[in-house]
């Protein structure tokens, strides 16, 4: 006989996994960040406390291992299918690029359109109608999304539309976004995130970029885009079925935002660089109106999304407040750069302090959320930041050989320390990531 346990504290609407046993039901409600290792530790605790018998514990360990194997196998299927779909999609794009003179344009359109809708239909059939190959079906949806983009570029090629038009990337993005929401596709969410930044990049460099002065606005523009996607991702937590999509958007937003903030730590971009051929002061004066509108619009939307997340996210956790409060703070500070930029070095110093703090905050929040991916992002940027500043400060100060020896030694020690810390966090978190 054993007692029925119900482990509570649901976070982020995780479903229950039930293990049925002859004498009753043990319900383990999977908490945010629980992994196979933690579940096994929990079973061992029950066994040690005498709450379950050795036979029951053995059965539970066996079931957990079986489930783990199934999950791993499932991931392999997803990976293989996704790689297959991506390779097919790349092949289709290169087919467009080949520009076959033997094949009439209309024929090429039919081939690609047919493949696109064919992949889309098969994806639906396998995943929702027959339900016999759901993971393959999901990969076929991804293939359909990639082929849709190939169709857009093929049509642009046929009509000789300008090669790097940001409108093409936007059309592709608009076409595949409904797939993310209709079929909860994580792979397509990742593709959509990528396309979002491709679109913003093309918009800036093709339509907004005018001269050497405005290039320095790019990090702020991309920061606005990163924060906006992070905020949009957070808003997806309001709907339980979109949790995984939320995570993908948020991670993509964090990565781009960190890259943008890193760029802003360099003096030539934030002022006081002492490099006379950069004219840095008052870049807003020379920014084209379209770009200015784009920056302001992105900024307003980013701020709105932060506010929605702060006040409407159901978890109401401190982590949520910290994340969105800090995102709002960083973004506001960077935005000030546009309107109040100077050539003083204080800007650069502040950005460096801010960025250093951000990397440590990411490691902290990843630990709090039991999310190894966020911890890895924080550690990665901390390492890059330390390396960059080491070069910045010591390149001119030390003899070259000493510079490299000291730098190498510091990096070696840093690597050892970070690896130890990362292992500690990994053990505390478990193997799998949180959602």
């Amino acid at each position: 006989m054993y007692n029925i346990f119900a482990v509570s504290t649901i976070v982020n609407w995780q479903g229950a996994s039930q293990l049925f046993y002859p004498s009753g039901v043990v319900t383990l409600q999977k908490r945010n960040g629980d992994s196979i290792m933690n579940i096994e530790k929990q079973i061992q605790k029950w066994l040690d406390a005498g709450d379950i018998s050795p036979e029951q514990a053995q059965k539970m360990f066996s079931d957990v291992n079986q489930k783990s194997k199934e999950e791993r196998f499932g991931k392999v299927i997803v990976a293989i299918s996704a790689i297959g779909a991506t390779l097919l999609g790349i092949g289709a794009i290169l087919f467009v690029a080949a520009n076959w003179e033997e094949t009439p344009a209309l024929m090429r359109v039919f081939i690609l359109l047919g493949s696109d809708f064919g992949a889309y239909y098969l994806g639906y059939r396998f995943r929702y109608q027959k339900k016999n190959l759901p993971k393959v079906g999901a990969s076929l949806f991804l293939l359909g999304a990639i082929l849709f983009g190939a169709n857009v570029f093929l049509i642009a090629q046929i009509y000789n539309i300008n090669a790097n038009s940001h409108v093409l990337a936007l059309i592709w993005l608009m076409g595949i976004l409904p797939l993310v929401y209709a079929f909860r596709s994580e792979a397509i969410a990742a593709l959509a995130s990528l396309l979002f930044f491709v679109w913003t990049g093309l918009f800036f460099f093709n339509d907004g970029f005018s001269n050497d002065n405005t290039i320095f606005v790019f990090p702020v523009f991309s920061l606005a885009a990163g924060v906006l996607l992070f905020g949009i991702g957070g808003m997806h937590y309001l709907k339980p079925g979109l949790i995984k999509v939320a995570r993908i958007f948020r991670l993509a937003g964090v990565k781009v935002a960190m890259l943008s903030m890193f760029l802003l730590t360099f003096k030539p971009l934030t002022g006081g660089g002492g490099i006379h051929w950069f004219r840095i002061a008052r870049p807003m004066e020379n920014i084209p109106s379209q770009l200015r509108i784009g920056v302001v619009l992105f900024s307003i939307l980013a701020i709105l999304s932060m506010v929605v997340n702060l006040f409407f996210n159901p978890t109401r956790s401190k982590n949520n407040i910290y994340e969105h409060g800090i995102a709002l703070g960083c973004f506001s500070f960077a935005f000030l750069f546009i309107f109040a930029s100077t050539e003083h070095t204080s800007n650069a110093v502040l950005y460096n302090l801010l960025f250093g703090g951000l990397t440590l905050f990411l490691v902290y929040i990843g630990y709090q959320r039991l999310d190894l991916k966020i911890v890895n992002i924080g550690i990665f940027w901390l390492s890059v930041f330390v390396l960059a500043k080491y070069f910045d400060f010591f390149w001119g100060l030390l003899d070259r050989s000493l510079f490299f020896m000291v730098g190498g030694f510091i990096l070696f020690l840093g690597g050892v320390a970070l690896e130890r810390k990362r292992r500690q966090i990994k053990e505390a978190v478990g193997i799998s990531d949180a959602t």
Partner: protein, 185 residues
């Protein structure tokens, strides 16, 4: 039953959306090509290679850089990103050349809409959306070699939107000229 119906409905709606997007894209271009006035523009091409778009030539026109000294507006009255409407004179050979520029869409006359990419006191650099032309793979360099003889056959609709119909050399399509030169004829 309801979730399956939702998925089916979503599947159908997304399919329709794709048809609308791609169809609309094609229709927009076809409108300009079929209803626009056909003119020839003198070009100066430069050839890059874009792996994802096949071989294409970058086309620069006589009207891509405008000297605004004798025009209604000076270059300094425009900013990057502004629309500019370039009024054209068309000669007996259908070759278009600069007549004047306007900030707003003119009510009459033949004009082509462009976007200012660079503005100086008395100069404007303008793009019209017809700066790329896709050739068959490997033909870019050959096309570029004939640059001094090439004109672009362009359709310009009543809104000023332009679309390339073909490149021509001595009134012959460029692809035919290249093919003939390869066969030694």
């Amino acid at each position: 039953m309801r979730p399956k119906m939702n998925k089916k409905r979503s599947f159908i709606l997304i399919g329709i959306l794709w048809v609308v997007i791609l169809g609309g894209f094609v229709a927009f271009q076809e409108f300009t090509l079929r209803t626009g006035n056909e003119i020839l523009l003198k070009i100066i091409p430069v050839d890059p290679r874009d792996l994802f778009r096949g071989d294409y030539v970058i086309l620069s026109y006589e009207i891509s850089v405008l000297n605004t000294d004798a025009l209604s507006y000076q270059g300094s009255s425009f900013k990057v990103g502004d629309n500019v409407y370039v009024l054209l004179n068309v000669d007996a050979n259908k070759i278009g050349s600069l007549a004047d520029i306007e900030k707003k869409r003119p009510d009459n006359g033949l004009f082509i809409k462009g976007v200012v990419k660079g503005a100086e006191t008395n100069r404007l650099r303008v793009e019209y959306g017809i700066e790329s032309y896709f050739v068959s793979e490997g033909k870019g360099k050959k096309t570029e070699k004939m640059r001094w003889k090439i004109h672009t056959k362009v359709a310009v609709d009543r809104f000023g939107n332009a679309a390339i119909k073909s490149l021509v050399v001595d009134e012959k399509d460029i692809e035919d000229v290249i093919r003939l030169s390869e066969t030694g004829l």
